[in-house]
Symmetry: C2
């Protein structure tokens, strides 16, 4: 459990959820839980006034998220030191209502804003790389070959503090208008989940 007094996090004007504010959450436990379940984020950054949203892996350590990539990556060069948006989305279900208008999805998302900082401390860089591996396969870091000097040099790591962020979620059945409840069509939720299949061993020798 995280200390209660630290978990309240008032939204900024930029991360306050305006559409359907009842779906918003700003507490650390909710935000961390969504981040820790997700496998990828989308990073938004701008190059010459053109916004981009690029998917990439990430890891969370305490109240920072980390992304990594090739040192030459356009995304990392554009994002370092610049205002970015870090977004994570889990799709939980299709919400099939009795009217077209009330169709929706169940989801959990987190949006975090801020300047991305390049991580230069070697211990923190290694911790981020370890977290990136461990989050998809716990215990794996100690079984694999760690990065060598050349690989470390070729890797850039950025971090973003989770200081200006919000979560938005929708759960539950469709909310139909009263006058539509008698319509004969099926209504409800089709649950969705990212599932892992049977691992396929690489037989290369």
């Amino acid at each position: 459990m995280e200390p209660l007094e630290e978990s309240a996090r008032p939204p900024s004007e930029r991360t306050r959820v305006r559409r359907l504010p009842r779906r918003a959450a700003y507490d650390r436990a909710t935000i961390h839980a969504i981040l820790d379940e997700a496998l990828i984020c989308h990073l938004a950054f701008a190059v010459d006034g053109q916004p981009y949203a690029i998917p990439t892996a990430f890891a969370r350590i305490d109240d920072h998220v980390y992304v990594h990539g090739a040192a030459a990556s356009r995304m990392l060069r554009a994002a370092a030191g610049a205002p970015i948006c870090f977004t994570v989305t889990l799709v939980d279900g299709l919400v099939l209502a009795r009217s077209a208008f009330h169709h929706s999805m169940n989801y959990r998302s987190v949006v975090a804003l801020g300047p991305a900082e390049e991580v230069v401390d070697e211990a923190e860089r290694l911790a981020a790389m370890r977290a990136l591996v461990e989050r998809v396969a716990p215990g794996r870091w100690d079984q694999i070959r760690p990065p060598n000097r050349q690989e470390l040099k070729a890797t850039t790591i950025l971090r973003l503090a989770l200081s200006e962020c919000s979560a938005k979620t929708r759960t539950g059945p469709p909310i139909d208008d009263l006058e539509d409840l008698a319509l004969p069509c099926w209504a409800g939720v089709v649950p969705l989940a990212l599932s892992r299949g049977a691992p396929v061993r690489d037989l290369t020798r």
Copy 2:
């Protein structure tokens, strides 16, 4: 099959894949197939110099993608007429290599750039709404109550032409360095897929 002569789509400098260009594709069939499998996109747009990436549902009709939302939505107001990035990502697997460096993911993604246009033609607006419902539950549009005048008025629809876009995919096993192949750790791919669970009927009356 789409006509071959129309499927070649040379990338712009902004959508040409630079990192690992062997993973790139620019043909219409590949791009459409990824879009048609995905349930959500992330839209990147900027407000006061701050980029945002916001998840939302979408539909494709021919060579346009459509998103919709409340007319008052900040996202739609910021994106209408402005340069946006429309990104779709399907996560297909965890790629567990013998070295930390070669860990990866299998994925299929599409990035499309351009100005988002507000759709004002009522027939096209309805076609987009229909496509948004039909893509998650084919045949459903004819069973449900269509949007009434008030709902139509409250809904904004944006479209983006798929003219400046690219796909990027990774498939297959980890690509380890030769000298790591003898390491004793497990290596391979853990397949991932978004799966639908048993539908949960809404019993509200």
